[in-house]
């Protein structure tokens, strides 16, 4: 490239940074951090942030813990600003459509917002109870927004006779934990064989089940809730289970996972659907043909991107740090030329506080077929365990043993052999790998034995980013 071409391109980049228009749809953690990062990257043009909730960006993890407990008010989880963000905030109005040819975002108010570059960060919403009449009963709640948490906190503070939690994933389990801390009777109904089984498998699920029962939770596994009854005043009174049993409950917390907010992208021609919005590892959205776009980026819970550590499978990660790290990468790539772009290759990580135990994880546990306990004691609920797939470590989980997680993270980054050598002296008696017992096999069946392109486990070809230290 000759000097004058270089200068012209530099001028174009500078002109975009000065006068370009960027729209971020989604005003939660990913949207806020991306807005901050864009300004830090030197973007001085017009920045619009659109969010369907009327609130300033707030943090969601405290909602199912300290907010439900009543220690922190639901409107007191606003996220700190870490950079000055000069932006037009359009809060309380949802985006309802994307017109790609004309580069417009359509709003529920009928307005249209033009953009040169768009960042999609619309995240997920709570899956509602499927029967709308029953869902509308007083005392039936989902847990996702600060408004949800405020309503539930008030309902719990009124000392209900019994709380029913439907679904024992992380949110449901955390809510059940809070109920017990408040001294409330709580029944947890889980369709699977154990709590947390989808995220951590049946071996860890069994430990989580014991933990719940030890804390006085009436845990029912392998049962679905078939219907909810209300009284004459429209208040929920009881729930019927698929095994023929029923339970009287005056508060019902529906925690059946999340749905990705992609409906507004219908007809846009983007690769958007049930699993999220497909994108490359640089956060650029794919169109429906799998062709990468230049001007539309995706980040957070909704982004579905290939990950070199997991055989280039497309992952969506509903994790806090995926939003934070992805926002930085997306913002950088939105104002950078090809040669300067960064990959978003997080080492997945999450945490959950419940029943006095800090559960932490790195890697993708459901990718593992086997699990081995490497440190600590299951009985004391202070241990570390590693997940393996085809003789390589792919994930790890700790219960009150988080200080060791970095050791496993380093092993996972290198695709080190499984089972890993234990780092500490506190080895459990049983150190044989066993089936991790995930409920469904989502791993494709025909993996090639010879990988022609990709990550060589013996060579550190990619730089992973870890937020755990």
């Amino acid at each position: 490239m000759n000097a004058s071409t270089k200068a012209k391109i530099a001028d174009l980049v500078e002109s975009f940074k000065t006068t370009g228009r960027i729209v971020i749809v989604g005003a939660s953690l990913a949207g806020l951090r991306a807005a901050e990062a864009l300004r830090k990257e030197g973007f001085r043009g017009h920045l619009t942030v659109i969010g369907d909730e009327p609130h300033e960006p707030y943090d969601r993890p405290p909602l199912s813990k300290q907010v439900l407990k009543g220690w922190v008010a639901a409107d007191h989880t606003k996220l700190p600003r870490l950079e000055t963000v000069d932006a037009e905030w359009r809060l309380g109005v949802a985006a309802v459509g994307l017109d790609r040819p004309n580069r417009l975002v359509r709003l529920a108010s009928g307005e249209q917002v033009p953009f040169d570059r768009l960042l999609i960060a619309t995240g997920t919403r709570a899956r509602q109870w499927p029967n709308p009449k029953e869902a509308a009963l007083d005392g039936v709640f989902t847990i996702r927004t600060s408004d949800d948490a405020a309503r539930i906190q008030r309902a719990l503070a009124a000392r209900p006779e019994r709380v029913l939690v439907i679904g024992a994933g992380f949110i449901g389990s955390e809510a059940a934990s809070v109920c017990r801390e408040l001294g409330l009777a709580v029944t947890v109904a889980e369709r699977g064989p154990a709590p947390l089984v989808g995220a951590l498998g049946g071996v860890i699920g069994a430990i989580a089940a014991d933990m719940q029962r030890d804390h006085g939770v009436d845990l029912r596994t392998g049962v679905g809730v078939t219907s909810l009854d209300g009284d004459a005043k429209g208040r929920v009174r009881r729930a019927h289970f698929s095994d023929g049993n029923m339970v009287e409950a005056d508060v019902v917390l529906v925690s059946l996972g999340s749905i990705r907010n992609t409906e507004w992208l219908e007809g846009s021609g983007l690769a958007a659907g049930f699993w999220g919005v497909g994108c490359d590892a640089g956060c650029r959205a794919f169109d429906i043909n799998g062709v990468v776009t230049d001007s539309i980026f995706v980040v957070g819970d909704i982004a579905r991107f290939p990950h070199v550590l997991y055989e280039y499978q497309f992952l969506t990660l509903e994790h806090w740090d995926n939003a934070v790290l992805g926002a930085e990468v997306a913002a950088h790539n939105m104002v950078s030329l090809e040669a300067d772009r960064w990959p978003h290759l997080p080492l997945p990580a999450f945490w959950s506080g419940q029943f006095g135990v800090n559960i932490k994880s790195v890697g993708v546990c459901p990718f593992g077929k086997e699990i081995v306990f490497t440190q600590g004691s299951i009985k004391k609920r202070r241990f570390a365990a590693a997940y393996g797939h085809r003789g390589r470590i792919v994930a790890a989980v700790t219960f009150n043993h988080g200080k060791w997680l970095q050791y496993y993270a380093a092993q996972i980054e290198r695709s080190a052999p499984f089972p890993p050598p234990p780092p500490g002296y506190d080895r459990p008696r049983k150190t044989k790998p066993i089936a991790a017992a995930f409920p469904d096999s989502r791993v494709p069946t025909s993996l090639p034995d010879v990988v022609l392109t990709g990550h060589d486990p013996t060579e550190r070809g990619a730089e992973f980013r870890s937020s755990i230290g």
Binding site: D59, R81, L82, D321, W351, G353, G356, N400, G402
Partner: protein, 72 residues
């Protein structure tokens, strides 16, 4: 004031819980619970807690709407 703790990073050293016990509490041995929007009167204590955190997991918004103290 507004703060956030990166709980992936947090390892439960609990320095913050000693320095600002009304803002940061340990739930069990390792799980940190905190007040994300504590009263402004707590600012000095919270900044000390953020500075003392061995893994620098506490982010604080300053009065100017930017990260403050030991934040990065």
């Amino acid at each position: 004031m507004r703060i956030v703790v990166d709980l992936n990073r947090c390892l439960g050293y609990a320095q913050c819980a000693f320095l600002a016990p009304t803002v940061f509490k340990l739930h069990g041995e390792e799980a940190l619970m905190y007040d994300p929007n504590p009263d402004d009167a707590m600012r000095l204590r919270v900044l000390r807690a953020a500075a003392a955190c061995p893994v620098q997991a506490i982010k604080v918004e300053g009065p100017d709407g930017k990260g403050e103290g030991a934040t990065s």
